[in-house]
């Protein structure tokens, strides 16, 4: 019995207390940062200059895809509220749901130059997150605004912003279809071609030179041209040369050349020399090439399986692989600068044209647009976070920018006309 008591006593000795509990939480909801950006304040600068800078910044923030720009109509603070932390009532900004507040002041610095000071605040802590100043000529205040927006973007994401990038597109006016290049927001458009029928532009990484198909010689040939400079012929063989695309380093082009019943993908140096076919499917059409970001692979459309589908291959034409198996009419692919996705246009079972992405490795297809008219000819922004495409949701075809999930879409403010086949320099 003594042994039994001893054992029972030992069993009753208190054991170490519980260790502190830990719980792991993952699966964050990534969503655009709620941003309040009240109107830029003029400090000696002209009202027009300040307004132009303000409009430009407002569009950049709204279309960037990383912000949820809060409606100014709901702001609680007075428009005259100061720009330094001491004079800001952060509770007012917090109450409208803002997590970041950006304040901008524009000052004239003489000789037609302006300086814009931007301060970004963390509304929760009421602390200044960063401050940026940029200067430039008042006549070029839009560029100052884009520069500020780019720096904000880079501060927050660590990636270069897309706000100083250039786009190209075709605008139909009357019986002419002309190639234009413009800023990313559609402002500052410059006509490249001089009337006639010009199609499918592709911007060189320099953002100015544009290659396109043109009937300027009576048949569809390939040309390259800078605004205000005479065009250079790149390709005039075959029945039709279309769908030109510059390689990421700008040293090569890929395009489709139709001869007889078929069309093959060709690659050549950027001036059109040393062209060679990299596909050889005599009875089928291969078109719309687009380069991978490392320049080693090409995506294109082919009807070799019976219907137009998206394929990938090495840039020498080897290792051709079909990528899309859903849908019966998939076309105009564009490879993301991030490398992981290819965006394409597809006609769905309701005969609506919409934008889709396909994951290069898994083949998983995601839908970007739906139920908003016909949406076509999408291309990626230089940072791969946005898409530029045409949409007929408002009647005539216009240019729209969208996030990859289609949640945030914004129309470019352009002159009247029918807009097609946009391209984004990268």
């Amino acid at each position: 019995m003594r042994t039994l008591r001893l054992l029972l006593l030992l069993a009753a000795v208190p054991l170490p207390a519980l260790a502190q509990r830990t719980v792991e939480i993952s699966g964050a909801n990534f969503r655009p940062l709620p941003l309040a950006y009240p109107a830029a304040m003029a400090q000696g600068a002209g009202a027009d200059v300040t307004r132009e800078l303000d409009d430009t910044l407002q569009f950049d923030f709204a279309a960037a895809g990383i912000f949820q720009l809060l409606d100014r109509a709901g702001y609680l603070s007075a428009a005259s509220e100061g720009v330094d932390a001491a004079s800001i009532k952060f509770a007012n900004w917090s109450n409208v749901g803002a997590e970041m507040l950006i304040k901008v002041q524009v000052a004239e610095t003489g000789n037609g130059a302006v300086r814009a000071d931007l301060r970004a605040y963390n509304v929760g802590s009421g602390s200044e997150q960063f401050k940026i100043s940029e200067s430039g000529q008042a006549a070029n205040v839009r560029r100052v605004a884009h520069l500020l927006a780019d720096k904000v973007y880079e501060k927050l994401t660590g990636e270069p912003g897309p706000f100083r990038s250039r786009i190209a597109y075709v605008r139909k006016t009357g019986s002419n279809k002309d190639v234009f290049v413009a800023d990313w927001d559609g402002k500052n458009p410059k006509r490249v071609t001089a009337g006639g029928l010009n199609l499918l532009p592709a911007l060189h990484p320099d953002g100015e030179t544009v290659a396109f198909t043109s009937y300027m010689r009576g048949r569809p040939d390939l040309f390259a041209q800078r605004p205000g400079v005479m065009p250079k012929l790149l390709e005039n063989r075959g029945q039709m040369a279309t769908g030109v695309a510059y390689s990421p380093d700008g040293k090569h082009i890929a395009y489709s050349l139709a001869t007889g019943e078929s069309a093959q993908i060709y690659i050549a140096l950027a001036d059109g020399s040393e062209a060679k076919a990299i596909t050889n499917t005599s009875a089928f059409i291969n078109s719309s090439p687009s380069w991978s970001p490392d320049g080693k692979r090409i995506t294109f459309v082919s009807n070799r399986a019976g219907s137009p589908q998206v394929y990938v291959m090495n840039w020498d034409g080897s290792q051709v692989r079909r990528l899309t198996f859903q849908g019966s009419y998939n076309q105009t692919p564009d490879w993301s600068p991030r490398g992981d996705l290819i965006v394409f246009t597809a006609r769905d079972e309701r005969n609506a044209f919409d934008i889709f992405t396909v994951h290069v490795d898994s083949g998983k297809i995601s839908r970007v647009t739906q139920g908003q008219g016909n949406n076509e000819e999408a291309c990626f922004s230089p940072n791969g976070r946005l898409l530029l495409f045409t949409s007929s949701r408002g009647g005539a075809r216009e240019l729209w920018i969208s996030t990859l999930d289609g949640e945030q879409q914004r129309k470019l403010s352009l002159e009247r006309g029918d807009y097609t086949t946009p391209d984004w320099a990268r």
Partner: protein
């Protein structure tokens, strides 16, 4: 003959008793050893995220052909708002007719017991019983040191499971507010990790929320702190674990 000489009632050593003691000792040693091992082994991190089972009602219909392109989930149109007949404008109520008594019952002052009105013995008994009854029905505050049964184990399974279940509720509540800015680059998201220490009051209020390990990304750190604050008040901890969550708290490890 010796056996016969021994009385049946005289004490004699029993082999069964020794075996019983030995068996009991072995059992106690075995149980004690298992408990000691459990207590000394490090507490595992509770990863609750993959565990909750998501249940959703699948819309009745034909399955989508795999050859077709995907469609975005379309919300069903809201049911048409029922036409509500405009509420009749109430006519101006006629002025209340003067009544002999008080106009409203609420306004009747409660009659105060006077010293003259002595309660009868029956009433006293009823009051006394009523008081006991009320006492019985009053929810008792959880005992401060409610650690389980007197003969329970400190690291008993019940407490641990109860804690895990509770942390599951807390995790779900915080996750609803776990919104992180899209500005964080997808490449950087993988390596983010922040830890927030919180103490939880018996009512579920967050008494203390401290960022004990920053991720290096201000936006992510602010987002995890905001998630904890927005999730408050949390579900009240189970009575058995009030002290633990109030004093020792819990560390929340946030990953994207």
């Amino acid at each position: 003959m010796e056996r016969v000489a021994q009385s049946a009632f005289s004490g004699r050593p029993s082999a069964l008793g020794r075996w019983l003691v030995l068996s009991l000792a072995l059992h106690v040693a075995l149980v004690g050893g298992i408990l000691a091992l459990r207590a000394l082994s490090p507490s595992p991190v509770v990863k609750l995220d993959p565990e909750p089972i998501k249940a959703s009602l699948v819309r009745l219909g034909k399955p989508r052909d795999q050859k077709l392109l995907p469609r975005k989930e379309e919300l069903l149109p809201p049911p048409p708002a029922a036409k509500v007949a405009p509420a009749p404008v109430p006519a101006e109520p006629p002025p209340p007719a003067p009544r002999p008594g008080p106009a409203l019952e609420e306004e009747v002052p409660a009659p105060r017991p006077t010293a003259k009105e002595k309660p009868s013995p029956d009433e006293s008994r009823k009051k006394l019983l009523g008081a006991f009854d009320r006492l019985g029905r009053t929810p008792r505050a959880p005992p401060e040191e409610a650690e389980g049964a007197l003969d329970g184990e400190v690291d008993g399974d019940a407490a641990r499971q109860e804690g895990d279940r509770y942390l599951g509720l807390v995790s779900a509540r915080v996750k609803r507010h776990y919104d992180v800015s899209e500005t964080i680059s997808p490449d950087k998201r993988i390596s983010l990790r922040a830890e927030v220490f919180i103490r939880i009051s018996r009512t579920g209020d967050v008494m203390d929320a401290k960022l004990v390990r920053a991720s290096g990304n201000d936006l992510f750190d602010a987002a995890v702190l905001a998630a904890v604050k927005r999730a408050a008040p949390l579900p009240p901890p189970p009575a058995l674990l009030v002290n633990e969550f109030q004093r020792e708290g819990v560390t929340m490890v946030f990953k994207p």
